[in-house]
């Protein structure tokens, strides 16, 4: 501490003092960390040009000894995408101060970004020796192990990280591991905890909501997605999912309102346009529905669900030739679904290609396990062709499925389907076959969602798959239309 009464206003004795040592022969060394604070301030403000200028000056003055300047230079290199250069600089830092875990962490981070996960884990382990209680090391180790597909180790590390300090990111990665392993329940557990810890994180809320949706627990899904939307009313993933739930319940106008926000945010999302299209379909605005679905199809030409919906709408519009094209395209992408063959058969019937229609029905019946509609439609066709025996067999098959569904769940059947079945039953003189209960909801909507949604993968946004599955369910609600049209022909 030096106390001096300074008299001159413009000049401090410091400058005079700094000249003094120059008179001696040993020059004074500048303080290495002199401008670290300035480098840091420029860096956090993302003013990289100014930052680099200061770094350069500082490094020249200290002959490359200023560790922090090198460190920030490396960080900037990495942000600019020069990962290899940044790695080399971080290694220099690690040489300058070998006791510092932070440098090792950055070396490992650069290795990680270069895709050298194995090497990264080694360096992280090294860093962990220097600093035992760093959640970041544990977290990043966990992430490396995920990429190395060593899920058990990854889980251990992530749990360690959570133990040290809880962060949303760690929860998200843990959840991802469970999703990768296909364990939805565990993933939900993790996300639940995460939401408890940070109740305002919209990403967590949305993911949890979508997981519930995937399991068909609509109440909870809606709750979480709704929460996500309160905090961020423009979160398009949540909107899409919420919209699809509304769609399932027939609230097409509300759903459309919600979709407007998404249309602003991601105008090129195929599931969005698919759902909008099916909303219009629900409101019986078929031309608009076709426009939207065609846009969805243009954006995702290989998505069979969009093709399915297009086929369905065209069937409704009595454009059987177009419907046939879309349905056969859908079958090319998804050859394992009975309903698709059934729709194809309906189209073929209307195109007066009875032979192929029958073949399509046979395939549909073979693939389908629990949809009575398939058998009913087939029975109607057979009956119209005068093959009463075949029709009767299919009718019996349908009864079996209906009974099975009635036993398994409290779901109720669609009125039009019931009516049709009763008429056919009368025509076939089977007597009163079934006791149909209050017809309200199509039996399939629930089954549909669970069976058609693909498991969420890391790369794909959950929302699109899920929402699409939902739209399918609303599409499914309209599948009876083709069967209904066959009615007048029945005697």
């Amino acid at each position: 501490m030096a106390e001096e009464g300074l008299t001159t206003r413009t000049q401090f004795p410091v400058s005079a003092e700094s000249q003094k040592p120059r008179l001696k022969k040993a020059p004074e060394f500048p303080i290495l960390e002199k401008q670290n604070w300035l480098i840091h301030l420029y860096y956090i403000r993302k003013d990289y040009e100014a930052c680099k200028a200061v770094i350069k000056e500082q490094l020249q003055e200290t002959q490359g000894l200023c560790e922090y300047a090198i460190y920030v230079q490396a960080l900037i290199f990495r942000l600019e995408g020069n990962i290899q250069e940044s790695l080399e600089l971080f290694q220099t830092c690690a040489i300058l101060s070998p006791q510092c875990a932070d440098n090792l962490k950055q070396v490992a981070r650069s290795l990680f970004l270069l895709g050298k996960h194995k090497a990264a884990t080694e360096v992280y382990n090294e860093a962990a020796k220097l600093n035992q209680k760093d959640w970041e090391i544990c977290h990043n180790l966990g992430v490396c192990y995920i990429y190395l597909k060593q899920f058990n180790k990854a889980q251990d590390q992530l749990h360690n990280a959570l133990h040290l300090n809880r962060h949303d990111l760690t929860y998200i990665m843990l959840g991802k591991i469970h999703l990768l392993e296909g364990d939805l329940d565990k993933a939900i557990e993790i996300y639940k905890k995460a939401v408890e810890f940070s109740p305002e994180n919209t990403e967590l809320l949305t993911t949890l909501g979508l997981l519930y949706l995937q399991l068909g627990i609509y109440q909870k899904a809606f709750e979480h997605l709704g929460n996500a939307l309160t905090y961020d009313p423009t979160n398009y993933k949540a909107i899409l999912a919420v919209g699809s739930i509304m769609q399932t319940h027939g609230d097409f106008d509300v759903a459309l309102n919600k979709y407007r926000v998404v249309a602003c945010a991601v105008p090129e999302s195929p599931p969005l346009w698919n759902n909008i299209g099916m909303c219009f379909f629900g409101k019986k605005k078929y031309v608009a529905a076709i426009s939207c679905l065609k846009r969805a199809n243009y954006l995702a030409p290989f998505d069979w669900k969009i093709l399915y919906n297009l086929g369905l709408v065209h069937l409704t519009m009595q454009q059987y030739a177009s419907a046939f094209r879309f349905l056969s395209a859908a079958i090319n992408f998804q050859p394992k679904m009975g309903e698709l063959y059934m729709l194809l058969a309906v189209a073929l019937t209307n195109l007066e290609d009875i032979e192929n229609a029958k073949r399509a029905y046979t395939e549909a019946v073979r693939l389908d396990k629990c949809n009575p509609l398939v058998n009913l439609n087939y029975a109607v066709l057979l009956y119209n062709q005068g093959e009463k025996r075949g029709a009767l067999a299919e009718y019996k098959e349908m009864e079996k499925k209906v009974n099975l569904l009635k036993d398994n769940s409290s779901l109720e059947f669609d009125s039009e389907m019931v009516e049709m079945a009763q008429k056919l039953g009368a025509a076939l003189q089977v007597g009163e076959a079934l006791v149909w209960t209050k017809p309200v909801i199509d039996p399939k909507s629930k089954h549909w969602t669970t069976s058609t949604t693909k498991p969420a993968s890391l790369q794909q946004p959950l929302g699109s798959n899920q929402a699409l599955g939902q739209a399918m369910s609303s599409a499914a609600a309209y599948r009876k239309l083709p069967s209904e049209r066959r009615l007048p022909k029945a005697p």
Binding site: L6, R9, K34, N36, H167, R260, A265, A321
Partner: protein, 593 residues
């Protein structure tokens, strides 16, 4: 993109709701040439005449000409050069005596310069750090010539590897030297004592024992060696010393030093540490995960801006309360305190040229500025109570005065559905033609379907035939046989009449080289002449692309071009392995001549 656009319109709404603006534009000088940070701005009644001045620790353009500037109104009152860049500026009352004019403290390098009445009054230097005793010992030995430079180097290396206390600059420099330079260096420096000096990174003030507005305050310094120091305002002795796990960048203080206080330090490792009186180490820590860009205390809430373009609110115990996303990078933050209405809010200067004012999560006001604001300060300036002072990236100075009638209302544009919901959906329109086609399909669907199916089958048949033919005559540029997996592509260069034709032949098998291949050109001899129409291919190593060059002379001068067929053959077989048809360009050289 979406978030940005929607919050953009939020901002616009918030602004338009205000009946134009709450602010009076007092002064804007884009050429004021002030380059500084919020920490280097201070407002104080330096002369005790009731006229508040603005003190700016100016880094100068490019951080090269540090100046201390004092502004009165829009004009610079005094300007004096500084020996080093200022890290922070603060004004504080040093003693109780009248007249109660505040002193000005400027932290720069390892020193704090204190001014009174704008005259240099005192210079405080940080106490030097204790050197490593082992290192000290080594240099003492060197002084007495008991150790040769090489051993010295080895020993120092050893210390650097393990020791807790880092080496001095002198030793670090020495370790960098070549063998030949060592001797001279040791002789030159051995008699000097080993020094370790640190620098001040941040500074703020804390009331000493009274909470009054005009009470005596202590200076609180954050240093590069991860320490916080509290200085006595009169004697400039270190009253308290606290250590942090990392280097402090921003400091925030509440309470009084002699009663109870809470010090919050945002550090370079991305963590925020909260210290209390009587604790030498942090009591709570907040791990942000990213770098903090600003730290402001609003009553009991700590507001932290992060490099992820968001503001976070934390309790004084470090529990996260809320997060608000910003539309752009936060450049600087400061406190807005309107005493007359008892309002405290956070101002954040953003890279998109906005200054946003938040009370907790609620956006109160958006100020648009012609340039990105890099430093902010609010308070009494001149004789006006609520003045906002901003400096911009380009060195401009903006002064705005809050209208006396202005009231900030919470939640201007935050509630209700997002504005995008009111926008019409862009549903593609369908034309009359489409409707007609639809009707036609309804009428003649079956016939259309049949015609379509027939044509489709025909198309498939023809495609299959063409494919078979191509396979049979090896027309494809990639050979399908398992024995000779080859790839060929050809490039024609030149304007004519002489062209250079380069064939790139690649052996695509993983391990096996190919030997005994021939290349043959088929062409119209009336149109083209080639020096060699048939030649042997050298051995093809797997993976490499072999360029085979040949010249083609165009004989025709009527601007006619033709196809040259390239066949790759195996010795002793007549069927080609693969072939390529090269569409030769028209010879422009001849046409021009």
């Amino acid at each position: 993109m979406a978030a940005a656009s929607s919050s953009d319109s939020d901002g616009r709404r918030a602004e338009s709701d205000e009946a134009n603006s709450k602010w009076l534009d007092a002064h804007y000088d884009p050429m004021a040439n002030i380059h500084t940070f919020s920490a280097c701005l201070a407002l104080a009644d330096l002369h005790g005449d009731g006229e508040y001045k603005l003190v700016v620790g100016d880094l100068g353009p490019g951080g090269r000409q540090p100046h201390l500037k004092v502004l009165k109104g829009p004009t610079v009152l005094t300007e004096s050069p500084l020996p080093a860049l200022p890290a922070a500026a603060a004004t504080f009352l040093m003693e109780q005596h009248e007249p109660r004019t505040p002193a000005l403290a400027l932290a720069s390098g390892p020193c704090v310069y204190v001014y009174k009445n704008l005259r240099p009054y005192f210079k405080f230097s940080l106490p030097p750090l204790p050197p490593n005793p082992l290192e000290q010992d080594l240099w003492n030995q060197a002084k007495e010539d008991r150790i040769d430079p090489l051993t010295l180097k080895e020993m120092l290396e050893g210390i650097r590897e393990k020791a807790e206390v880092p080496l001095s600059v002198q030793s670090l420099r020495f370790l960098q030297l070549e063998l030949s330079e060592m001797e001279a260096f040791v002789n030159q420096h051995k008699s000097k004592p080993i020094k370790r000096q640190t620098v001040i990174t941040t500074m703020t003030t804390m009331k000493k024992n009274l909470a009054d507005e005009d009470a005596v305050s202590c200076l609180v310094l954050g240093t590069e060696n991860k320490e916080l120091l509290v200085l006595d305002p009169e004697a400039f002795t270190v009253l308290a010393k606290m250590s942090l796990p990392s280097i402090p960048v921003f400091l925030e203080v509440s309470g009084q030093f002699e009663v109870e206080f809470q010090l919050t330090a945002a550090c370079r490792n991305g963590n925020i540490y909260i210290l209390r009186r009587d604790s030498k180490r942090p009591k709570y820590s907040i791990e942000l995960g990213v770098q903090p860009v600003g730290l402001v205390r609003v009553q009991k809430v700590l507001v932290v801006g992060s490099t992820q373009d968001s503001l976070h609110g934390f309790t004084h115990k470090g529990k996260r309360l809320w997060t608000v996303q910003m539309p752009a990078t936060i450049l600087t933050m400061n406190l807005l305190e309107q005493h007359s209405r008892g309002l405290q809010a956070v101002m954040a200067g953003l890279a998109n040229g906005e200054v946003r004012i938040y009370h907790d999560k609620a956006l109160l006001n958006v100020i648009r500025t012609p340039d990105a604001v890099t430093s902010l300060c609010f308070g009494r300036y001149g004789r006006e109570d609520n003045t906002l002072i901003m400096t911009t990236r380009g060195g401009g100075l903006i002064i705005k005065i809050l209208k006396r009638t202005a009231v900030f209302v919470e939640g201007g544009g935050e509630v209700g559905p997002p504005p995008a919901q009111a926008m019409k959906l862009n549903v593609p329109r369908k034309t009359r033609l489409y409707v007609d086609q639809t009707l036609r399909e309804r009428e003649a669907g079956t016939a259309m379907h049949r015609a379509f199916q027939t044509d489709l089958y025909l198309l498939r048949l023809r495609a299959a035939r063409a494919y078979v033919q191509a396979l049979e005559s090896s027309l494809s540029p990639v050979s399908a046989t398992a024995r000779e997996p080859l790839k060929l592509h050809a490039v024609v260069q030149g304007l004519g009449p002489t062209f250079k034709l380069t064939l790139h032949l690649q052996n695509t098998s993983t391990a096996r080289p190919i030997l005994g291949l021939l290349v043959c050109f088929l062409y119209n001899e009336a149109l083209y002449a080639l020096p060699r129409a048939f030649f042997k291919v050298p051995l093809l190593v797997p993976g490499l692309s072999y360029p085979l060059e040949t010249f083609v002379e165009s004989l025709n001068n009527k601007g006619i071009s033709d196809i040259i067929k390239v066949l790759v053959l195996r010795e002793g077989q007549s069927a080609p392995l693969l072939s390529a048809h090269i569409n030769m360009p028209v010879s422009e050289g001849l046409a021009a001549a």
